[in-house]
Amino acid sequence: MGTRAVATLSVERDGGQAGRQAARAAAEQLGGPADVALVFGTTGYDQRELTRAAHETLGQQCVIVGCSSEGVISGGESHEGDRAVSVLAARLDGAKAEGHLVGGYDKAPQKAAEELARRIGDARDVTGVLVFPDGLTGDCTEFVSELERRVPGVLIAGGAAGDAMTFERTYQYCGREVATGHVSALVLRGRGRLEVATSHGCTPVGPQQIITAANGGWLEQLDGQNAWEVFKSYLDDGVVDLNAEGIVHLCLGTAAQRGATRVDEPMVVRTPMALNRETGALFFPGGGIAVGQPVRMTRRDPERIRKTGAECAHRLAGDGRKTPAFVLQLDCAGRGKILFGACAADSIVAPLREQLAPYVPWAGFHTYGEIAPIAGAVAYHNYTVALCGFFDA
């Protein structure tokens, strides 16, 4: 029979109503109870009402995991705004799902990884782990390396929770619980297989530079120069703040290979999210900014984003030979409406969906950071799409 999945959406104004509507539509389309559901909602909603309504509607038997976000994706649609919720619900066939909500991620991400690994226990039958950490706190790079170390050989992917670009507070969902500073996780076991493909669409523009001063996610100096000054030298003179245009124009390319001395493809792209105007230091949530690391300035390229996105989806589908039971698109919040405007879905969702059969259930959200393996190790990316597919075979 195989896994049966559906993706639904609601843009109701009230959180309870939205949660109920999307969940009910999912249950109805599934034609029976769901075993697992991923729920992503924007922060315009009362998060508790939203998750409670989804939980009540989907029932006790359903494992629910998810997080808050800047915007959601469902089917061919992308809603980045005040109020939208996306639900991906599935009835599994031979697979098993479990949800975890682990605290202490903000303060001690390694500990959180350790705790999650403990809860996973015997990982031999684990087919994939999806993690949704707080996108504003915690060093995600540390978290994923620790987790990878503790459950070796298990595919780890996910996206960092977001808010409405207010950078104030994000939420992690599990069951009917809602928390901040946590990481929520979905562990899949038994039959089936989780796969992931990534693409960023950026081009390096500068010479390689070395991080000469950094502190806990704050990038202070490059080649001994003030980080913001270096950034500004690539930006138009009028730019005084790290506003959206600056963010989307310029990113930092780092080597995917840990310990590499040269920055080349495959690259992990990172985006600063905050600027300390006094010191000129740039903040990269998710960590992974270390002294001695080589980096290159990169610029975003809308055309490349479309093209490499499509290629990435094509890869996920085994060059068109495989069809996933469902797809989860974890796409950077900086690549949506802010770059492509109201028709963002046409640029970041449609070219990807076109690579797969149109009936494949498709859901996701606009993340504050994407988690996916690259060059043999799990990394924390920005300005990237992590496209996850669940295959029955």
Partner: protein
């Protein structure tokens, strides 16, 4: 070797320098690209904004609904700026109330006053204290966003409108590459935009008002035209009636004298007869004289009948039965060469008409039809409920409650000239001795008396069709009932030396149910009043030759102390020497007056 080494080192250095230069150039290129992108975007946005504004302006030029204009204004703002939503808040001008769509909520008076006083657009960060009243307003109508990065508002305040509007929009996100989040420098643009929408609303309001007025004007124009047509028709009828009356009187007079002469001729011819018994030639001559006399008498009788105002008895007549009865006589009248056919509508009902008159009308039409078909043909009498096309003139009066009787022949038909004079008394195209030209004049007169009408359609060589319309009995009573009066209200005497005024008074009173006697002066009026002791009302002019109104009243009061009197005059009451009026019985009606004023005065003196 060291040289070689040195050369490599130098080359390496040069290369490094070149790479550094290239990197610098690349940096400049990226920087230029960014600058270019930024200015291009800015220009594009500016252009787009102007375009959407122009589009909006063209779009709403034809919109008259205020809500339509505001809806489009909202969409335009959403299209022009990076906004998550725009709410159009209706601020009531009178009560502390807010409206968003259908949702109307009372608000605190202080907040209301602040909103009313908001006359310039604003753009502030969400946490700015300036946003507080607008956020409170949004919350009041249940539309507040959970968080706001940028708040923007545009007042739209058409003067003297029952409601002004605040377009309040907000953005949650930072500026995007595709649309501007409103920034303080957009303020003048928003002011321009708000002003335009305001003017559009005002002009839409004016257009609507203008349209309403012009519709009303067109309507009253139409009404005027209709009543003009009606007036013309009435005038034509009046003329015809007057002509008929005058000619009738003349003909009657002549006929009367003629009749006497013919009586003399006839009787003396009879007297001569025995004397010429033996002379066959003389006898034949005498016969011719007697025959001519008889025919002459016939004609004078018809003339007399025409001249005399025939008495009318209103009856409910079964038109179909009347036509059927008459058809036996008619068949004999028209001879064998003409086929008579009756098409009678069984659901026709009764007509309100004098039965003898109806017979006379049909006889005249049938005889004419016969005369038009000397070599035979078909004659068709049809009855049915009247339709619009049956009307003689285009006066917009309903045909409801009218019965139509058509008499159609396949005879010679008539030309336009004949058709125009058809109803003129003495108009005939028939040889002398054969036609009198009184048949259709009589038909016309009789129909006038019976509140009917007649129309004709004819084509030379094809035949003619005369259509008579009569009020149906039900229709007539219904029409009467709706017109209210008049039950009979007795006999009124109108004394007035001015012909036109007298006629108007007489007509008015007749219409209101009075039998009316007319007098040209006080003496005539006195005579008439003495002759008619059943008089119920006197309407008299004050200034008249021979005997004035005051004296007339004085004398009449001696005979009839309770007779109600209405005095009319062009002078003011004070100028006249009428004496004191009896408030129960008398009224003074200053000239000029309208029929309604007459009616009011009459009603007052009659105490009803």
């Amino acid at each position: 070797m060291p040289d070689e080494l040195e050369a490599v080192r130098l080359e390496n250095l040069t290369l490094r320098r070149e790479v550094a230069t290239l990197a610098e150039q690349l940096k400049l290129l990226v920087k230029a690209e960014h600058a270019l992108t930024r200015t291009r975007r800015a220009q594009e946005r500016q252009l787009e904004r102007i375009e959407t504004f122009a589009e909006f302006a063209f779009d709403i030029a034809g919109v008259e609904q205020a809500s339509g204009i505001l809806d489009r204004a909202r969409l335009t703002l959403l299209e022009q700026f990076e906004l998550d939503d725009v709410v159009m808040l209706g601020v009531d001008a009178v009560e502390p109330r807010l409206r968003a769509g259908e949702n109307v909520v009372p608000i605190e008076r202080g907040l209301w006053q602040v909103l009313l006083a908001t006359s310039t657009p604003g753009i502030v960060p969400g946490e700015d204290p300036g946003s507080a009243p607008l956020l409170a307003a949004l919350a009041a109508v249940g539309r507040a966003p959970h968080w706001v990065r940028t708040l923007m508002w545009v007042p739209i305040q058409p003067r003297s409108a029952p409601e002004s509007t605040l377009a309040v929009g907000w953005s949650l996100r930072p500026n995007s590459n595709h649309r501007d989040v409103p920034r303080p420098e957009h303020q003048p643009y928003l002011a321009l935009f708000g002003g335009h929408v305001t003017r559009a609303l005002v002009s839409a309001q004016l257009t609507t008002e203008l349209r309403r007025q012009s519709t009303a004007l067109a309507q009253s124009n139409q009404q005027l035209k209709a009543s003009l047509g009606q007036l013309e028709a009435t005038q034509a009828q009046l003329l015809q009636a007057q002509k008929l009356e005058a000619i009738g009187r003349l003909a009657g007079g002549i006929a009367h004298d003629f009749n006497n002469l013919l009586t003399v001729i006839g009787s003396h011819a009879e007297l001569v007869r025995p004397a010429v018994d033996h002379d066959p030639e003389a006898q034949e001559d005498l016969g011719i004289i007697l025959e001519a006399t008889r025919r002459a008498t016939d004609i004078t009788k018809r003339l007399l009948a025409f001249g005399r105002k025939q008495e009318r008895r209103e009856q409910s007549v079964d038109v179909n039965a009347a036509a059927t009865d008459l058809s036996r006589v008619l068949r004999r009248l028209i001879g064998d060469d003409i086929q008579l056919q009756l098409d009678l509508d069984p659901g026709l009902g009764h007509a309100r008409v004098d039965a003898v008159h109806l017979e006379q009308i049909l006889m005249n039409l049938v005889v004419n039809a016969r005369d038009a078909m000397p070599r035979g043909g078909r004659l068709n009498i049809e009855t049915r409920r009247a339709v619009e096309a049956d009307r003689a003139n285009l006066v917009p009066v309903s045909t409801a409650g009218l019965i139509a009787i058509s008499v159609r022949d396949t005879g010679t038909g008539m030309d336009e000239a004949t058709r125009r004079q058809l109803f003129e008394p003495f108009f005939t195209t028939k040889p002398a001795g054969k036609g009198t030209g009184l048949g259709l004049a009589t038909v016309y007169g009789l129909l006038q008396q019976n509140h009917g009408e007649v129309s004709v359609r004819s084509e030379v060589g094809k035949g003619s069709c005369f259509t008579v319309l009569l009020p149906s009995f039900e229709g007539a009573s219904a029409a009467r009932a709706s017109e209210a009066p008049p039950p009979t209200r007795g006999t009124a005497l109108v004394a007035e030396d001015e012909d036109l005024i007298r006629r108007m008074l007489a007509r008015t009173l007749r219409k209101r149910g009075f039998e009316v006697l007319e007098a040209r002066d006080g003496v005539q009026a006195l005579d008439a009043a003495i002759a008619r002791p059943d008089l119920t009302l006197l309407v008299t002019d004050v200034m008249m030759p021979e005997l004035g109104g005051a004296q007339l009243a004085q004398r009449l009061r001696k005979l009839r102390p309770d007779l109600p009197i209405v005095f009319t005059s062009g002078h003011t009451f004070d100028q006249l020497d009428i004496g004191r009026l009896d408030p129960r019985l008398d009224r003074f009606l200053p000239k000029p007056f309208t029929p309604d004023e007459v009616e009011a005065a009459v009603t007052a003196v009659l105490g009803r």
